[in-house]
């Protein structure tokens, strides 16, 4: 069973490296959106540092939203998705593998470019670490939540906008807790409690979301 997980992840990564623009574009988008804010509101470092957590998290949400297109859509079109649903392994498990691969390709790069953005937005080291940790815990939850939305809308011709309508409200708690943690770090307070909350949400999402995704796929691909 573990083997199946690795096989799926390997195939996803291999496919992604053949089509690198698919991975790079959402990251570009993320960086560009964050750059727009100083241009729009001015370059006062204090102001930027104040609103940086919100900017970065909202941009991360939007970038994640863009990247969901490729989570199941191509597979749905070329028939790999229905074959995946007919594999002699639990669908929840295979779906988890796909989401893990998706996070490696979209969530992880966001983590990697976050130091750059911290410099852009004049963040202090302490604040940056809080940002980094919330992204580390929060982006997998986004991937899992988004996958539910994708699985529900995949069979629809105009699923893209609908996906954001469904998914964005559900991701509000992550936004709130993450930005609160970063704020706390800015004021030199402890944010471990908030991180623990986020981690609890991650655990809940990892255990529950695959079932919702599998059930949604069974509805959409029929």
């Amino acid at each position: 069973m573990f083997n199946a997980f690795i096989q799926v992840v390997r195939k996803e990564l291999l496919g992604a490296f053949r089509q690198q623009s698919d991975i790079l574009n959402p990251i570009w988008f993320f960086v560009i959106v964050v750059t727009l804010f100083p241009l729009g509101i001015g370059t006062d470092p204090a102001l930027l540092a104040r609103i940086a957590p919100g900017i970065i998290w909202v941009a991360a949400l939007l970038a994640a939203l863009l990247s969901f297109e490729r989570l199941f859509k191509d597979d749905y079109i070329d028939g790999s998705l229905e074959q995946l649903m007919l594999a002699p392994h639990p669908l929840t498990w295979l779906v988890s593998a796909k989401i893990f691969a998706h996070w490696l390709l979209t969530g992880l790069p966001i983590l990697l470019v976050s130091p750059l953005l911290a410099v852009f937005l004049s963040l202090e080291v302490n604040t940056f670490w809080a940002l980094f940790l919330t992204l580390l815990i929060g982006t997998p939850i986004l991937s899992l939540l988004g996958a539910i939305g994708v699985a529900l809308t995949i069979g629809l011709r105009k699923g893209g906008v609908l996906l954001s309508l469904i998914m964005l409200p559900l991701s509000i708690p992550i936004l709130i807790f993450s930005t609160m943690a970063i704020d706390a770090a800015t004021y030199g307070q402890s944010y471990l409690g908030l991180l623990a909350l986020l981690a609890a949400m991650l655990v809940a999402a990892v255990t529950l979301a695959p079932f919702a995704i599998a059930a949604s796929l069974r509805v959409s691909v029929s």
């Binding site: 809308t153 559900l170 709130i176 609160m180």
Partner: protein, 253 residues
């Protein structure tokens, strides 16, 4: 097994049963609405702080409660529908969602209107109002998803799954919003934090809650019946029903 036993008769039976129940809900909703409104607006004492503007509570609170009540109905129906694969339960989800959305909208609107005299602004990022706004988003998402599917059986199932995902998420959303609010707003007195309400104020409120709940029941049944008719419009019993009702009409005319 029994889901295959007689799907035809089941829809018809629930159509007839809900038709019988519907008038009773209306019969409860209308008088309680009139009594509650008159009592609440005209006879209940004015609030010593807020004066007469507090009276909007008689709409706001019942609407907010029923917004949650409608969602609970949907969640239970979605669970039943998905676990036992009962299509009628999934229809209930679809039938309830727009009503819940309207109740949520009423709660939001009255809440905002209440905010004007209280805080001097139409919109304040109060925890309750924000939660209600997000609840409205969730409702709209479910409705949009349901309408996007052309096959209504699949639509019902997809909407049910989303409802259940929402049910796990909504408490977290509410909790996070409350926490976020206390952090950002700190000292604002929430208008709901009355230690205890005077009995003269409370009784009309309870009557209004009963009225709104009964009206919710009425509307759910009404839309549920419509949903059945639409889905089964090609079945013999619906055709017979339409024929008999149209012949009754012509006799009456």
């Amino acid at each position: 097994m029994w889901k295959w036993l007689h799907p035809y008769a089941k829809a018809e039976k629930s159509y007839i049963l809900s038709g019988k129940l519907m008038p009773w809900f209306l019969a409860l909703a209308l008088p309680t609405f009139i009594v509650g409104m008159v009592w609440g607006l005209a006879f209940a004492p004015a609030d010593y702080q807020q004066g007469d503007s507090f009276r909007i509570i008689y709409i706001h609170v019942p609407a907010a409660m029923m917004a949650m009540g409608a969602y609970s109905t949907m969640a239970i129906a979605a669970f039943i529908g998905l676990v036992w694969q009962i299509r009628l339960a999934e229809m209930t989800v679809a039938a309830t969602a727009p009503i819940g959305a309207v109740y949520t909208f009423i709660a939001l609107f009255t809440g905002a209107a209440w905010g004007k005299p209280m805080w001097g602004a139409w919109w304040v990022w109060d925890a309750r109002l924000t939660s209600e706004l997000i609840l409205l988003f969730v409702y709209l998402g479910i409705i949009a998803l349901y309408n996007a599917f052309s096959d209504k059986v699949l639509a019902g199932r997809a909407a049910s799954i989303l409802t259940l995902v929402g049910v796990i998420n909504l408490p977290i959303i509410h909790f996070s919003v409350v926490w976020w609010n206390t952090l950002h707003q700190g000292a604002t007195i929430t208008k709901f934090d009355k230690p205890s309400m005077a009995t003269e104020m409370l009784i009309p409120l309870l009557i209004m809650i009963v009225s709104f709940a009964a009206f919710l029941g009425f509307m759910v049944l009404y839309r549920f019946r419509n949903e059945i008719l639409q889905r089964e419009s090609h079945r013999p019993w619906v055709i017979a029903l339409v024929k008999s009702s149209s012949s009754n009409d012509s006799q009456g005319a």
